[in-house]
Point group: D2
Chain length 360, copies 4
């Protein structure tokens, strides 16, 4: 269970990292949205392995096929099935994993839950599972842009290990993000980050960091109060991404050290609209968008797979030592940027349709 | 929409802060669980207003009635309807709110979404909405303890404004938490927090802080990979609580400044079980519990309602100034402790039943 | 579980026939729909006991209270909680049922499922559970009429035991239906039905029959292909009503004895719209409404509670004889008419909002 | 929307009759169930076209591939993705359908709903959509048989046009069903049915009929009272199958002409179990299984596609005449038998897991 996400715009992902392939079924997509495989492929290319020197060299083209739901270049309103076949399997690389639990991976917990697991490369817990999310996010973006032409989601790396970037969330563009391989629009910080990652890799180690995401061009009124608050659904979406450890919106954890008089966003009239002077709320109040930019941050842990030897135990309960030999990312953040954007876009697309459905 | 939570153990809350009352319907509760109104009342008493000098003096007994689903002291397996009538309404206090949007409240966003709102005290966005959650959490706790007798959820305040408490999440008890009115088990820090809150109140201001929660006594195997990861559902649950701005599990945002070799939890055999030597994962790996304590933290902003005058606008778009006159909490944290516990317990109860349903 | 119905317009009912009360929470109702308790009460009065000589004399006013979701006579967009307290409990009447399973009732199956049941009058399996459905249906009707002012749902009795009525589904009005106590618009047939019911009651027996329902004033395009076909959701809605044994739409079972050339509905242009010449499809093709009247029928079995002695067994497995002593309906059909209308209206309201949400 | 079915054992189907392919994603399947493509293929072969002289000659092998969720012959607990590529497309056969609405097909309603449709062979409304259901049903059967080794679902044709078969639902076997091409275990009736179908085909016409299904070997206690009654979910499942017009369980519509004293199922002790002497309830009381065989019937209309010319209208609103030229079934019943079994098995599998999840 738990492989579906969304209420009206609902996706279901499937697939292990090794095996036939991975994919997604998108249900609830409005009809007559122009859609081609290249729309999806462009986003998949941003998350695929092998794009730069700081990500895993696993060389997969991740070529997508749309198997249903599109006819003569337009969506039909029926489920859109997207398939990406697995190609570059080297299951022998993972043979050791059949018997030994990798520290801070999901090997042990899958075994505890299911009594079986596809040990060839992480199975369903592999980052490869996110291909379906990115594919669906590309479709959701087209739907949202139909409804709100100014809509855009821009995510970017703001922290890697001890390096902090300075980015203006109101102004940052996707072009700036794509300007370097770490996807950090602060060029100086980006160089430090890249160097730190290269060094960590050389040392058989890994690094984590923070991705910030801004959603612009959305109207007030999206999000459902109580359990399906916009920030609640965004938090769920982000913590469902592998390797995440935290989420904050607007002022986030920093709010805990502020006084109400410092933190509140006063209202004013601007361009004949109710606007806030500041945006510590992060674009959401009471679970509902207020028309300001939605800004949130996601914490990623350092990649669990490292080349250094670590203590662990085997399937049969014997203590042993393990050092990773498979290909892996020393830092997941650059490839996680399109995943964060995709998940945020899926949340907003679903809420936009929900609001449309019930606002008479 | 969005007023239901859970998949097998599913709750639906309803009610505005002013009006007939508030309540919850609990669907999916197993039968033959001993349950009395006093089980629920004990938890409601922990979140009700007027319990101490640092919370709102609004004096409501919040007396619960079980209207269905229980027979001769046991659950029937049918929906449990819990009702709390509203009592201490002073709607005249709120007359000004009918015309003016309170900064960092949900007045504007509700108006934008629905074109109408119950302006008497916050309506559905009031913290009063959480009564149903706490009531349901008390039931979920009984179900979980039937399945896992060692289960307990203990939440406590670790930060208020600039004060940090030191608490051992493995050892802290509910008795220690309940020992003072701020619900911080570090007595020295608690005194500072209480003093800081008293001062903020005197200054017409408010404070935020952090609540940590530990879940103990759960087996490995709970949680669904991919979208319904345990940490994802916990994050959603927490960000659905009013006034929250962030969530982190285990190492959380601190993980972003660690190396993989520092962060990974090595495995060892302990008491003939697979255990981790450290718990930076926070009890969850790949979305599934690993049998260690589940530890997470939630950031709360300072209360939006403050007595100081703030700039804002009216329903008709005129700029004005507003100073709160209603009764309110200068710091929501002590009353939020049982809410955090309740929401965490609901998440785990639902996942425990889901796991039970599909593990043959 | 299983106490919620609908996807966007979603209701959750609760309550046993004896105990605190029964009720419903309606989530997803659009805001600013005028709504008063009298709107709901009018429908509840049509299903309450004691309205005529051919229904149970149990004398309950079934007075509804709206506890939330309505403010100054308009819906807020938040959950609408409707409560009806139980009044006329005579649990001593049912003492025998604590030990003995009534034939063709749910006593045995509840016991098998839950290991416990509220034996005072049928508990959750009582027809009293449908109060929440009828209340919610009254709200759904107002929503649908806001969207489609010509919308109306008219149900009526077409068969009781061996009497068949002739009714023109295109023309029948609610006034005609309400003209007699059996709710059959064919006056001559109605008299025979009433006489048959009176005789069955005198003989300690009971009768079943068929209710037909027509939905008018709906546009083409409602209903989701595949699993949530309009006829599928209607079938589920109807078979969820107590005492139902069958459902058919349009030509129904009679279609099985027709040839395609006899059965197909040819298209023509009428008033510049695509219309069918006949309506054997019952207003739905491929799961989606085609703009014709939606017509379906529901089979009700004879009331299981009869005064004649029947063989049965006890909780402890001893064979015994039981004759009903409680008050009951000799024929459920007249009181089921508003329930059928309510459930059909709920299905259409939900699908209308779903279509609105996804049709850009 | 509406392409998913089930709550714990949840399937999502996708695919048009022409285009890349059709398939299903099965979420919530327990782990460690032995599963091979041949298990699924055996059921697909029973529903595929071209198996006999009385079904459509469209010659597709409908070869399935399992793309995920199975490892070394066992289910992983992760989503099982099953793909069947489309092969024998003759889209030119359907060119006329691009402009003209086929009577009693879904062409017009899809156009009304979506403003676009894949007119090549029925698109999503094609019977080809049911491939995913049958594939999923084969998996559900393995799960149910793991839980209840005596479980079996047997469906068979009891009526075609004016021919009625006599079948003992307690004794009928799948072998008897498969003994002839119409899947009617009454050999004499089967011959008449086959002859009638052959004649209808020769006349350019089509026939409908009734399929009965019996589920054996299930315990009491399955099914959720109120909205998710077993008969309600079965009714929805059946009315979601293309070409269905009605559903009845147990006594069904015949119950409407019986008295309570004739209809009630008296209880007795048999083999130390509570059993009913008769089974007019059809194995379900109050929405919950009572341990008797579950027996229901489904009405299928005559195939809408017929070779005779019919009046209809075009996309642009001009009246015209249409005679089908594509390959089609003169009677859908033989191929619908495995679909009915599959849908019933899916309903029961889901309810069995739900009951397992909440019965402590």
């Amino acid at each position: 269970m738990g492989n579906s996400f969304g209420h009206l715009f609902r996706i279901t992902t499937w697939g292990e990292s090794h095996g036939g392939g991975v994919g997604v079924v998108i249900d609830g997509c409005p009809s007559r949205i122009p859609l081609q495989e290249s729309d999806i492929q462009a986003e998949l290319d941003r998350r695929r392995p092998g794009q730069s020197s700081i990500v895993t060299p696993r060389a997969e083209a991740d070529r997508c096929q749309i198997l249903s739901g599109v006819f003569e270049g337009q969506t039909l309103g029926t489920p859109i099935s997207v398939l990406v076949l697995n190609e570059d399997a080297q299951p022998e690389t993972y043979a050791e994993m059949a018997q030994t639990f990798r520290p801070s991976h999901a090997d042990f917990t899958y075994e505890a839950k299911y009594g079986i697991r596809n040990w060839q490369g992480g199975g369903r817990a592999s980052a490869r599972e996110t291909i379906g999310r990115v594919a669906a996010g590309a479709v959701a973006r087209k739907v949202l842009q139909r409804m709100f032409p100014q809509f855009e989601a821009v995510a970017y790396v703001t922290h890697v290990y001890q390096t902090t970037a300075f980015v203006d969330s109101d102004a940052v563009t996707r072009e700036q993000v794509e300007a370097n391989e770490i996807r950090c629009p602060d060029a100086a910080a980006a160089q430090q980050m890249i160097a730190a990652i290269a060094q960590a890799r050389a040392e058989g180690d890994s690094l984590g960091g923070i991705i910030e995401c801004v959603l612009r061009g959305l109207p007030p009124g999206l999000g459902e109060p109580v359990f399906d608050k916009l920030e609640a659904d965004l938090a769920k979406a982000m913590l469902s991404i592998p390797a995440t450890k935290g989420f904050e919106i607007g002022s986030g954890f920093a709010a805990t050290q502020m006084r109400g008089s410092e933190h509140n966003d006063e209202f004013e009239m601007r361009d004949e609209q109710v606007r806030t002077k500041t945006n510590r709320s992060g674009g959401v109040q009471g679970g509902i968008s207020n028309g300001e930019n939605i800004v949130f941050r996601v914490a990623f842990k350092p990649t669990a797979t490292i080349a250094r030897p670590q203590q662990t135990v085997t399937l049969t309960g014997e203590e042993t030592t393990l050092a990773a030999r498979g290909r892996h990312d020393p830092c997941v953040l650059p490839r996680a940027v399109p995943i964060v954007e995709a998940m945020a876009t899926l949340v907003l697309c679903d809420h936009a349709l929900r609001q449309r459905g019930t606002a008479l």
